[in-house]
């Protein structure tokens, strides 16, 4: 996720750097994004309970 979404490298470049094939990069990227989304969601719920209720 750092290489793809923060550093904006392509799937192929990321695969080369990590020594993975492109399918593995895609799978790991998806997994990382889902985890990041969950963490952000948890953070938003915890820090803004009043807004969530409205």
């Amino acid at each position: 996720m750092l290489l793809r979404d923060v550093e904006d490298l392509s799937t192929e470049e990321t695969a080369q750097i990590l020594g993975l094939n492109t399918d593995a990069v895609k799978t790991r990227l998806h997994r990382a994004r889902l985890l990041a989304r969950k963490k952000r969601d948890t953070y938003l719920r915890a820090s803004r309970p009043a807004l969530e209720k409205n």
Binding site: M1, V6, I17, L18, L29, R33, L34, A36, R37, R40
Partner: protein, 90 residues
């Protein structure tokens, strides 16, 4: 019966969500995702929150390292990572 069908579609779309948001899906699969998301409110909400998460990552600009050093540091990190992988394999 409709609820079961709904679950199957949601699972299928869940797995393809990153590729969908990266616009890497074939046209046909993309159309299927579009129509599912349009008709499924929980999936629409989830997709939007994932899209926003990715957008925040893209906007994130690490400022600690100036350009030239960053490039050098990146190379060193790359070498260290390759070494770590090699050590792990052996």
């Amino acid at each position: 019966m409709a609820a079961h069908q709904h679950d199957e579609n949601c699972k299928k779309m869940f797995a393809l969500l990153s590729e969908y948001l990266d616009m890497e899906l074939p046209a046909e699969a993309c159309k299927e995702m579009d129509s599912h998301i349009t008709g499924c409110e929980p999936c629409a909400t989830f997709t939007e929150s994932l899209r926003k998460t990715i957008e925040l990552c893209r906007e994130y600009q690490p400022k600690e390292l100036p350009g030239p050093i960053s490039r050098d540091a990146r190379q060193k990190l790359f070498e260290a990572y390759q070494k770590m992988l090699a050590d792990r394999r052996s």
